[in-house]
Every structure is written in C-alpha cells, then in structure tokens.
C-alpha cells in the first residue's frame, strides 16, 4: 500500500505558530472531531501557487539553536572559520532546518479556506529536499508554495506541496516537497493497527 501507516506517520500540527487563521484554532481544539465526511479534495487546485509570505532572515544564533536541538556538533553550523574553510561565506544550516520555513508557507495551501481541507486529519507522509546550495547565515529567504498534486486513495487525500526557496537575489536555494495525507473518516478504524 502506498500510504504510510497513518498512526505511524508524523502528525503535522494544526499549526506553525506564526499562522493564526481562525480555522486552525478550531482544529487545534478538536483534532478528533468527527465531522461529516468531506468530499475528496478538488483536483483543480493542482498547480495552484501561493506567493511568498514574509522574508526569513537566517541568523547564526538560530542555526546554533537548531543544531543544538538535534544534538549535532558539526562545527560548520557554528564556527564561521570552519564554514569558510569548506568554501561557504558563513555558517551553514543543518539540512532539515529549512523545513520550518517551507512548512509555515505550506500552511497557505493547507489552510486555504477554499480548499476545504480538514487540517486536524493531516499527517506528514513523506519529506524530500533538493539542495541547490546549503542555507547560510545571513540569507534572506522567501518561499513560493505550490500544490503539485492531489490524489485520492482509499478514502484519503494525498497532497504534494512544493516549497521553492529563493534567496534575496532570486536564486534557488532549496526545493522542499512535503507529502501530506488527509485521513478519510474510514481510516479511523485502522488507526490502532
């Protein structure tokens, strides 16, 4: 089966904290709420893009904090001299650091009220990154989010949200593809498996 085990997949939260849309607040309160089964998502949303939100300025100390949180002592994340010796202008960010940005921006698609996606039923199925270059301290990044695909499978909706991350010169830095599974109501019974 193509689906990740639903109970197993990482659950995407009702919310990157910077996003306060009202829809999400209700989901946060009631993630288990059984609502009338939503219809399969509208495939005409495939290809829809959402313009960048606010620019994210990457700071050395934020990179350090993230590296410490994942327990990674690689000096390329914290010591500018080491990073320069590797050929970078400043310290670089760990590979998954950029997810905080791309996921926040993916919220534009996932919480698009016209898409009518039940955010409380979303789990994170897959995650992919393609790196044009590492993220550097001092980068000013913006993300364009696009709904790459919407599929319906066994009562679940599966969306690929692509986040194209650009620097202030408009050069591509990273492309992130986040696959989310919106569990259909019937998959609840399988949850304990």
């Amino acid at each position: 089966m193509l689906l990740p085990a639903h109970a197993g997949a990482a659950v995407v939260h009702p919310a990157a904290p910077q996003q306060p849309p009202p829809v999400e607040q209700t989901r946060r309160e009631a993630p288990k709420q059984q609502e009338v089964a939503p219809m399969a998502l509208d495939k005409s949303f495939e290809g829809r893009s959402y313009p960048p939100g606010r620019t994210y300025e990457v700071g050395r100390e934020k990179i350090r904090e993230f590296a410490e949180a994942i327990g990674d002592a690689n000096p390329a994340y914290t010591d500018p001299e080491v990073a320069r010796a590797l050929g970078y202008a400043d310290v670089i960010a760990p590979p998954t650091f950029v997810f905080s940005l791309t996921f926040r921006e993916a919220g534009q698609a996932l919480q698009d009220p016209t898409l009518q996606l039940d955010y409380g039923r979303v789990v994170h199925g897959d995650q992919k990154f393609h790196y044009h270059r590492p993220v550097l301290a001092g980068d000013r990044l913006s993300v364009t989010s696009t709904i790459d695909s919407i599929k319906s499978m066994s009562g679940n909706d599966i969306l690929d949200i692509r986040g194209d991350v650009y620097d202030s010169a408009g050069e591509p830095v990273v492309t992130a593809v986040t696959k989310v599974v919106v569990r259909g109501p019937e998959s609840d019974s399988a949850e304990g498996k």
């Binding site: 990157a16 949180a69 390329a76 760990p94 590979p95 199925g125 995650q127 990154f129 790196y131």
Partner: protein, 144 residues
C-alpha cells in the same frame, strides 16, 4: 566542497558508520522550541493518548534530522548534500520513564551516480524499538 570522503574510495555497498541517537522528552521540548513545531503530540502525553497514539511521539522531522547526521558526519561537509528524502512509516514513541527512546540509523552506498559530479546515493535505515521508523530514506551526496 569540503567532503572528506573521496568518490574514488567508495563502492556500492560501502557502509557508513552507524549511529544511535537518544531521544527523551527534553529532547522533544528543545526541538519543538528550535523548530517552531509545538504540536502537543510531541510533549503532552494526555493529548497524544486522546488522539490514539500510544504515548508522546518524536517529531518526524527530528528523526529525519538525526538520520541525516549519519551522512553529514561521514562526509564532514553538510553542504555536500544534494538530495534527501524520507517516508515516515512508524512513530518514535518516547515514554516519560527516564530513558526515553533511541533511534538507530545505518546507511550504505547504494549507487555511484555520476563520475563527473562525484555523487553517490546513500540508502538509510532508521529503527526505534525494533520498528522501522523511516522508509525510502535516501540521500544523494557529492564526494571529494
């Protein structure tokens, strides 16, 4: 740029040094703060059980970050990573028992992709409590 493993020295089947990564509730709280992902299933046992999880579970992206370290520690240069993808197959359950959980990651070179670009594909395996927690876990990395 600065990868310390030479393409010429690597063969299909070359194993990367495996690693074990401990995960406690404190780890998850710290990761929540650093990443901005405050989903209560990663720190609130009551909430996690309400949504039918066995207990608090680790952030999938935390597990993905740990698995990457097997590759970036090997090459030395995290910026040499070209592609990285995983599928989240099972949760890493993190009990509040003073020990927490452990993520075990092993990896090997699955293919030499491009002699000019000196890129190889590394396939990773991540397990916790005997369960495979990542599937289709692959990285493409540029070597020296």
């Amino acid at each position: 740029m600065g990868a310390r493993i030479a393409y010429a020295d690597v063969e299909v089947g070359t194993e990367l040094p495996a690693q074990r990564f401990p995960v406690t509730r404190e780890t998850l709280v710290r990761y929540a703060g650093a990443s901005g992902d405050f989903n209560p299933i990663h720190w609130n046992e009551r909430f996690a059980k309400e949504v039918d999880l066995p207990d608090v579970i680790a952030h999938g992206m935390f597990t993905m970050a740990e698995a990457a370290r097997v590759v970036t520690d090997w090459t030395g240069d995290p910026g040499a990573l070209v592609d990285y993808g995983v599928r989240f197959t099972k949760p890493v359950v993190v009990p509040d028992d003073g020990k927490g959980a452990e993520i075990e990651v092993s990896a090997k070179v699955a293919a030499k992709l491009d002699d000019d670009a000196r890129t190889v594909r590394v396939d990773l395996t991540a397990t916790s409590a005997g369960q495979k927690v990542l599937g289709m876990s692959r990285a493409v990395v540029r070597l020296a």
